[in-house]
Amino acid sequence: MIYRTRSGINCYFALFRSYIEDFRAQHYQYESHREIYMAAPSSATDTGLISLRDLIDFISHVADCYPGICKDFPQQLIDMLMQHHLVLETELREKLVGSLVLLKKKDLLDSATLLHTLFPILVSTPSKTLRALLFQKILSELRTANSKTTNHKLNRTMQTVLFNLVTSDRTSAKGLWAIKITRELWKRQIWTEAKAVEIMKEAALSQNEKVIIGGVRFFLGGDKEREELEDEDSEEEVNVGQVKHQLTINKKTRKKARVAEKAIKAVRNKERKKGNPSPLNFSALHLLHDPQGFADNMFFKHLQNGKSNLKLEQKLQVLQLVSRLVGLHKLHIMPLYSYFQKFLTPRQPSVTSFLASLAQASHDLVPPDVLEPLVQKIANEFVSEASAGEVATAGLNAIREICARQPLAIEETLLQDLVMYKKSKDKGVMMASKGLLSLYRDVGAQMLKKRDRGKEAAMSLRAGERQERRYGEQAVGEIEGLELLAKWKDEERRKKNIENGLPSDAEDNEDENDEADWAAWNVEDDEDSDTDGEWINVEQDVDIVLSDSEDEGKPASKKAKQEEEAKKDTEKEAEADKAIDFMKLATTRILTPADLAKLTELRAQAAVDATLPGNKGRVAAPWTSRHTDDPLTAGEIEGLAALSAAKATREERIAHAREGKTDRSEHMSKEARRKERKEEQGKSTTNKEKARKKNFLMTLGKARSKNKRSLVETRAVLKAHVDRGKRGGRRGNVGQ
């Protein structure tokens, strides 16, 4: 019942006042039962328990109506729970927890007190069910406390409590609760501060292996989990139109009205959210304070330390975290690389993870002479004609990944040797080797043999624009896709000039242009921008050529090709001039929000164009498209090992075949499918098929009689058969 009017509220309170005597009696009843119970909590009778439970339930439900009588009630419940939770009967215990949460909802208890009550019990109780209940209640309490606005005070106290829990006793497994709570709240984006990360950092440095792994896994997977949850939340769509339409057709019930209302509300919320700036949530790895110290500690404590008793997979996880930190923050832990040395053999279990970690741990500030022996070792151990295809593939991929991060890590001769594997019979090895080759065409073409360099790299080398990057040299910072924007602006200006009847190259007065720009300060909401996915132009007349390598001869005639190249060269020169030009755009003028919006659009378009194979350029290499935050996985190192694997079993082959053709119902032979089609079309069967389908019992008589035939009969039959063969069947082929 909802009383909305003033008189309604008055009548509501009058109702409570008139029951005050009865409530008081019930409260006394509760008091005396509590007294009886507290005198001997462990030896209470069933009836006493039930009545105490019911009384607690009743009083907590109406406590907000009689604040005077119930002012001590929450404290009493807290005392009862805190002092006797070990001996309390389970149902009563759960009722106490539930009642406390209810009292919190009625504002008779503040959430800090509630959490300070529940959390110590969560950590100390041996009961599994109670722990589950408490965990759930604590989480929901923290969520509701943060639902409207972030409750900084509560968060801070809770984080301090958790931090102290983790740091107070590093050998105990109690820190696991801190991890669980922090991870859950991180996932739901309730806690996004550095303090939460600090808790996890301390957990990862603890001495209990469960706690360590809990902390490490948070850093490795917590952010991904958060993103996934966000995606899930945003994915659930409500179709308001449909709901409204159904409401007009179907029977009108209160429930349906409620559903419609909810749907409309959800949409409204969504719209409101769209207007808000998206919250800038840094990943946990970025929020770390002193990553160098943390990584150092982790490495020396859990990996280098002979006393640490982590299992191999746990060590691998720690190693992943350390190497990711090293790669992301460009840290220096020199002993880490020599640590890798002993694990780099094909016989090492889960060696691909080690390889992936090594690749992650290398960055362009690692001295090449530290990485060189490792690369050498990988090449020696993994890549040879004698080793299995998968092994060589993994080795080559690992080397490629290392070199993508530190191109100076490999010697020239070794590189040239490895590139030779592009002629390998094994497809996986061949692909991996080509990957390495195309990487070095980009980053260090002069290290390749001349014939391996490729046209583009060779020409740029000759022109002298591409130079080997020295150790520690940094690229000039730039805004990604700015050249696209500059180009687009240039084109726009040309168009406008043509409209105005000026020569296309004429420099128009800058002022006018500026004014136009300032007018277009804001992003215009044109009509297609309110649809969710914006349209991106996909080039229509790109002839899609699928080719594995450039070595295969192209069908285009040589002359046409040369012309094309010549044209491209001139274009390229022009573009080279502009390369300096577009930096001007960033340095001389302020980019308006409209410009930035256009920039993102152009970038998206460029990304789409890049994925289309064709004359626009090579497909972007995987090492360029990777975000620095993304981890490198063992799967990527294994790469196309599946291609070099031994012959697959029938099931695998079937599964592989079905991957491509999802529309087919069943995997069948060509013959069987043909037959099926024939049957569907109602066509007749051949004599052979008829014979095959003939009932066995019908053939039995003839088979028996065949056994009993005399020699003469047999001879006659055989003779007739030969004769028939000569004639060309029963009917003969005389007439034909």
């Binding site: 005597e21 009696a25 006394y28 008091e31 005396s32 007294e35 009886i36 009836t47």
Partner: protein
Amino acid sequence: MGSSSKRKKDKQKDFQKPKLKVGKTKAKPDNYTDTSFKSKCMYILWPLDVLLCSQLLAIVLTQQSLHLAAPTSNATFTHNLSLLSAKSDSQRRDSLAYLTTSISSRPVNSPLPQPVSVILPSLLPLILDGATSVRTQLLKLLRTLPPGDVEDHVAQLLPYVRAGMTHLAADIRGSAVEILSWMVEAAGESTVSCAGGWIKTLNCFLSVLGWHTEESSQWSSSRASFGKSGSQGKPMVKTLGALAMFLDAGIGKPSIDGVDSEMSGDDESPDWPFPLCQTAQHMISDSSTPFAYLNLFGKPRDEEGEMYETREDRYRVFSTRFQPAIERGIKSAREEGGELGRASSGVSKVLKEAIAYGPGP
């Protein structure tokens, strides 16, 4: 063809009889269910009369009760004590009756078969028992207990009595009031002076009578009508009687003996010869818990749960917290007249005497 013969065979299988073999146990049918069970102990509820007259006979009913002699009376007493938590109310009532007879029929000056501290814990939950017959029988049993022993266990009894007094069922409220009046009779001083015995019990009285607030004590309001209305008549009258006794025990004018015993600390006691003075103060106290007021082991008490050991304290609390409410209640009860009015006059008499005596000498 082939399938039909197969089906025939299948059908025949259903009608085939199992072969019996000599010297082998008969095969169990398919749908046999094992109903045997194992148990650590087994109770056999003996009818009371069988128990009593089985002095000479050793009846062997089962393997579990292979006794040569009948159980001793002490054993049956304990057995009946354990039966107090039985499910059926008739069983509980019968056990109570047995306990009552065995206590009351014991030879004079012989001790109880079990000490009160053992009996009482199983009796206490019965104060809130749902069955009327059990509660009346309980009261009878309580009355047979020696008052001296009760005095030490009042603190245990009182919470149950208070729970009974605020119970939703009017019958239970009535019998709880009766038990309280028995307690006041048996051990008045300790009832009013034990922890929580004064304020909390008075609160319960007020809520039973419905005298807490101004408006609820008016004659037109539905007084004392919460919960189920009882089958016994005149609960108010009984309650008023009990209140009168309770007040008398708490703040009534101390009798001459009481004054004497109180004064005995100050004056020279006749028990001690001349040179000894105030010796009684230094002797070991004869009450069971002489330092209860220190509350060394319990949790801290609030104002309501505090012990009010002297009349002075009780009167102070009474005059500040309860006097107006009770006077108002008495007034309205007197105005109602009839039996209630007469009962209220008993209370008002006690009250007047107490007020006349004042906070004390």
